[in-house]
């Protein structure tokens, strides 16, 4: 039989290559950029500049349970414990430059887009200052309106133009507009397949154990503008479809009893723990807000569309959109509940959670819980609290299911 490489293997290989390439490039004297996770990488890919993503790297360090060393380093330099832990890990790494989770080369310039938060502006300013390197900033005005207003689109386009000039100056090379179109096309295509693959989790039972999402996310961050990225997601979609066709659920040894979504970033240092508690309770995390975050889709050559797509990340949009988004996910994925991560790192997500939770509950009737944690700082999470909350969620979901069954029975009798 033909031994086909699985998308997971491919993912591992490609990620390793991604980091190796960056290190090699640096050694060869080529430019390396550090970029935020949902930035217009199209510009860098067009210039053939190697990029690494500090958020991804920090997440990897968190998952390898070795974040504390980097956090301690930053804190001893005056960084407050209350700041985003990705920043604390990365700013520590910038000095220590050695981790068992893998290494990244130091940047020659910084590429920052605040469609995920304004925290990254401050964090990246500090890198630029400490390393004395240029910074390219894409400021995506916060959308307090439901849609992205036109004057914001114009402003973002103006920044694309400015960034191209900056890139030409930094690299001493001309920007190739034809190649740019090509990259725009691939990036959009990859994003579509990412969305397509993750949307397959809507099947019942879901072919996807949602914690895999967290793994594949690394690829959508690092390889959105590359053919290799596109290939991974096509393959992944094919595999998931295969599971659906065979009626396979997320696990071999347990049935999927409840379906939930996870709002917010993972708790990387406790990935296995958080996963096991859910699984033990028959709860499958089917999806999260991640799929949409990287669904950056626009027509090739449509710069306005590209500007709008980048600015449309849900955290950069108003609360009404945020609530609508989750309501839609609850329906599309037939969810029984929602798990909200009150993540000490991420104020932009946290300070809307309470109201979003109320709105979602009012409109869907689906129960939810909030637990305290942090994406990489191991000190902010309590397994006991998490277990209690998940237990409570399970009970509420059980109640709902019972009520639904009663309802159905009643209908049958009445009918």
């Amino acid at each position: 039989m033909d031994q086909k490489v699985s998308s997971k293997d491919l993912l591992g290989q490609m990620l390793a290559k991604h980091y190796d390439d960056a290190i090699e490039a640096k050694k060869a004297g080529e430019l390396v950029a550090w970029s935020t996770s949902i930035a217009p990488q199209e510009l860098l890919e067009t210039m053939g500049i190697k990029v690494v993503y500090p958020e991804n790297h920090a997440a990897a360090i968190g998952a390898r349970k070795c974040a504390q060393e980097f956090i301690d380093y930053s804190e001893s330099g005056g960084y407050s414990t209350d700041l985003c832990s990705y920043a604390r890990v990365n700013l520590g790494y910038m000095n220590i430059q050695e981790s068992i989770a893998g290494n990244i080369p130091l940047p020659d310039f910084i590429f920052c887009c605040n469609n995920i938060c304004n925290t990254v502006i401050k964090w990246y300013e500090n890198i630029a200052k400490e390393l004395n390197i240029p910074m390219i900033l894409f400021d995506m005005p916060f959308n307090h309106t439901y849609e992205v207003p036109d004057h914001s689109v114009q402003y973002i386009r103006g920044q694309f133009d400015h960034a191209i000039l900056q890139l030409e100056e930094i690299s001493g090379r001309k920007f190739d507009h034809d190649k740019f179109k090509e990259v725009m096309k691939i990036s959009s295509e990859t994003a579509k397949w990412w969305k397509k693959a993750t949307a397959l989790a809507a099947a019942k039972p879901s072919p996807l154990n949602g914690f895999d999402l967290f793994n594949y996310m690394a690829a959508i961050v690092c390889m959105r503008g590359k053919q290799e990225g596109l290939d991974i997601f096509k393959l992944w979609a094919e595999e998931l479809q295969g599971k659906i066709d065979r009626g396979e659920g997320p696990w071999k040894d347990t049935e999927e009893q409840y379906r939930v979504m996870w709002d917010g970033i993972a708790c990387w240092p406790y990935l296995a723990d958080t996963y096991k508690v859910l699984k033990k309770n028959g709860i499958n995390m089917v999806t999260s807000t991640y799929p949409d975050s990287w669904t950056i889709v626009y027509d090739s050559d449509d710069l306005d569309g590209m500007a709008r797509a980048y600015s449309s990340n849900y955290v950069n949009r108003n609360l009404e959109y945020g609530a609508d988004n989750i309501v839609k996910i609850v329906k599309d994925f037939s969810l029984d509940g929602v798990v909200f991560h009150s993540n000490r790192s991420c104020k932009l997500m946290d300070f809307r959670t309470f109201e979003v939770q109320r709105k979602v509950h009012a409109r869907t009737g689906v129960p939810s819980v909030i637990f305290d944690g942090d994406q990489t700082d191991p000190r902010a999470f309590s397994l006991a609290q998490y277990e209690t909350r998940i237990q409570a969620l399970k009970e509420m979901m059980e109640e709902n299911k019972k009520a639904e069954m009663m309802e159905e029975k009643k209908e049958r009798i009445d009918g």
């Binding site: 304004n118 925290t119 900033l137 386009r157 400015h162 104020k347 300070f351 309470f354």
Partner: protein, 377 residues
């Protein structure tokens, strides 16, 4: 009581009881009032619309209702603003303008819509890439959008002349305040940490034009007096704000004067003059390009040098960092300027503050030991 004391006590009265002060000035002027959230809002446009821009900088209040929206690790100033909005303290305002400088403010803007539905919200975005033309153009578009909103609130159109007149009022205000903070060095006993703060803060609850006249009068009266002898310490204070009043009292008790400040609530409001431009709105936008603050993009991180310069210009003995707890923009600036101040051998006192703290015992002790340590040198 002599007239200087009387003037200062009037300012203090206004600052300590904002609601009362605002109600009074509304009655006197017959104007509507518009709440202006930190840090920069187009006050000039509000004023041009014939309304009073009122500063909303939190305050000491027990947090109850705001917990419905915000976790405990939200900065105290915004928890207080939401709390006061919810409990009706701001009901006399016809609208509020909430700019979205930091992640917290973005969320406050969004929560306001449900938490305080009775006060008309005008959200506003200031661009971060304000030093490139696309940013200036965007800023101008935002000013015009907000202008139209304010016209709705006031019920009248704002002309170019209204705007230019208002800019002039504000420019006089800024120049007067620049002079005011500079004469503190000559009168550090009269203008101690506490009185200096209350005088500056009163601007937020006054009609800018008459407020400026009063400050000018105070300056003129002070100048008639000889410079005061002062044997205490002089410091430069930096941060979002230096409150509550108990904190300021500790400085006064320990004979520490504020020779200059880099506080968002104080000098950052008036240290940057109006920009050049063909239209009023362009002048306002270009002023933002020159503004420096932790809330505005600055990849050169000029704050350390700014503090060093302030220390030198004012012959100050050190820098006090008034760190607003849970404030990302300020907390990110700190490690960078800390290093620079250390390299320049400038002594530094770091205080973590929250507006709601009442027993500032620990802080008091730290200020005292700082004073003692400096005394020995």
């Amino acid at each position: 009581m002599n007239s200087i004391e009387q003037m200062i006590s009037n300012f203090e009265e206004q600052s300590k009881y904002p609601a009362k002060a605002v109600a009074k000035v509304m009655k006197e002027t017959g104007k509507k009032a518009v709440g202006c959230f930190p840090y920069y809002t187009p006050e000039e446009i509000v004023y041009a619309a014939g309304m009073l821009p009122i500063g909303l900088w939190g305050g000491q209040t027990e947090i109850k209702s705001a917990d419905k929206y915000l976790q405990s690790f939200c900065c105290s100033i915004m928890r207080a603003n939401v709390e006061m909005g919810m409990k009706g303290t701001y009901d006399l305002l016809s609208a509020v303008i909430i700019p979205t400088y930091c992640d917290t403010l973005k969320c406050i803007c969004e929560n306001w819509k449900t938490a305080v539905p009775n006060i008309y919200l005008i959200p506003m975005v200031y661009p971060q890439n304000i030093r490139i033309e696309a940013g200036v153009t965007y800023m101008m578009a935002e000013f015009k959008r907000v202008q139209a909103e304010l016209e709705k609130v006031s019920g009248r159109a704002i002309t170019e002349k209204d705007l230019l007149d208002s800019i002039e009022v504000y420019e006089t205000y800024r120049k007067t305040m620049q002079e005011f903070v500079s004469i503190v060095n000559q009168y550090p006993n009269t203008l101690n940490a506490r009185t200096r703060h209350f005088i500056i803060k009163a601007a937020y609850f006054s009609d800018k034009k008459s407020y400026t006249a009063k400050v000018a009068e105070l300056i003129a009266e002070l100048k008639k007096l000889p410079a005061e002898k002062f044997d205490g310490l002089k410091v430069v204070i930096t941060g979002i704000l230096a409150e509550p009043a108990a904190l300021l009292d500790s400085f006064v008790e320990n004979n520490i004067a504020f020779a200059a400040d880099d506080l968002a609530q104080e000098s950052r409001q008036f240290r940057t003059c109006i920009g050049s431009g063909k239209t009023a709105v362009e002048k306002l936008a270009r002023r933002m390009s020159d503004q420096s603050c932790s809330l505005l993009y600055d990849d050169k991180k000029t704050r350390g040098q700014l503090l060093i310069d302030l220390v030198k210009e004012n012959n100050a003995d050190g820098v006090v960092v008034s760190m607003m707890k849970f404030c990302d923009p300020e907390e990110f600036d700190y490690p960078i300027f800390k290093k620079e101040l250390e390299a320049a051998k400038i002594p530094m006192l770091y205080l973590e503050i929250e507006q709601q703290m009442d027993a500032a015992e620990q802080i008091r002790t730290r200020i005292q030991s700082f004073a003692e340590m400096m005394d020995k040198h």
